[in-house]
Symmetry: C2
DNA sequence: TACTTGTTCAAACGTTCGTTTAACTTTATG
DNA sequence: CATAAAGTTAAACGAACGTTTGAACAAGTA
């Protein structure tokens, strides 16, 4: 099981993982192809060989993340259960996924508003499907239940932003207060989000968690 | 009042405003100095003359936005009123500010996780003060009132992300569904946020707003 | 008028960028 | 074994990058 210096094992996957790591920490534009190739221990040309271009590599990262996020929404927002329990399922699954793929999450969110037509088009396609699901499984049932209406183009970004805040601001908060990322566990963070969304901040209790003033 | 081709009026402010616009729509790294200078109708050298460097220009943008955001937090989270009414005040003021300075908001949030030490340091200084305020004016009173505890390093990012979601995802949602940005007014968006944070999604009603399925 | 200070300018600095080429090696197929 | 396909390499391409330079111009002061 010693993966030493045989430069054989799949270079494509190594490039992809290195890119996810570098794009998340340095940013897409700030990461050079030569730096990426060196870090992934491949020749410079291999990136364009496997992914066509630097932007093609980014699109593959975005597609990989968004397709799974969309699948999670489909699986958990639809199906049995009332609105509350389905929303709870969705939040728990999403937070776990964000935790596991936090670098891809950072890339996807951070690179959001930039107006490269090629990239925006790709993301709009995924976002459109997400909006559709949120409208069908959350907004409409919510309206039927309470008479209130929240447009999916408003609710979907709110949910995603809220769930992602821990991971987007994590590195910065760690700079502000070392260990702050570990102060709240993933489970408690999930409970907190569910509590807030269902009952407001008065419902956002967490059981464990240091009472650091 | 005809500001025609007298190339005299303050070039520094023109550079700053052009940079805010371009950085928000294209991204910091993707915006070139020559493009910026051309758009601002100044000579290429003027940017470095006034701001020292491209990064210096970014820091000035970040400082301008974050100092005002922090001032809003200080003014509205502290002072008279219970936790609910102070939070309500803060949200209303923040959303209005985000609306007015949405480009600076996008720059500040989007450029968040990138690990340039010079930039991260600056932002951590502002974030630290914000965390302090949120802890003193929100977290501690909330604990005293309900016995529950939410760390400020968790709550501050959540609040900011939630309030900013409309503006961060706005361009993308507009691509998904034209006119979606106008479907909910700023006042209704504020009410929605207050409702969710105080009572959960069941409290997030908006009065006006088209019922488009 | 001379001098200073704050701006503006064209031109060039050296570096790095993403991409491409063509030759070479390895692996798989018949 | 022969042949093609897939993978890998070093080297170079032109373009664009952020920054610097040194001179010119404008305005106010002594």
């Amino acid at each position: 099981m010693s993966d030493k210096k045989q430069h054989k094992p799949n270079s494509k996957e190594r490039i992809l993982q290195t890119a996810i790591s570098l794009f998340a920490s340095k940013g897409f534009a700030e990461t050079g192809m030569r730096e990426l190739a060196a870090e992934a221990e491949v020749n410079l040309s291999m990136v364009n060989y496997f992914f066509g271009s630097k932007k093609g590599l980014l699109k593959e990262i975005l597609d990989g993340f968004l397709s799974q996020y969309l699948a999670i929404a489909r699986e958990n927002l639809a199906g049995k259960g009332d609105l509350q329990s389905r929303l709870k399922r969705f939040i728990a699954a999403s937070v776990n996924y964000f935790e596991a793929e936090r670098n891809s999450l950072i890339i996807t969110i951070s690179e959001l508003p930039h107006d490269d037509p090629e990239i925006v088009e790709h993301k709009a396609a995924w976002a459109g499907q997400m909006v559709e699901i949120v409208n069908r499984e959350l907004c409409k049932p919510h309206t039927a239940e309470t008479g209130q209406y929240i447009p999916p183009t408003c609710l979907a970004p709110m949910l995603t932003s809220l769930m992602a805040s821990r991971f987007l601001f994590g590195p910065l908060m760690e700079e502000v207060k070392a260990g702050s990322s570990k102060a709240v566990s993933t489970e408690d963070y999930t409970k907190m989000l569910v509590g807030i969304l269902l009952q407001g901040i008065t419902g956002a209790d967490i059981k464990s968690g240091e009472r650091n003033i």
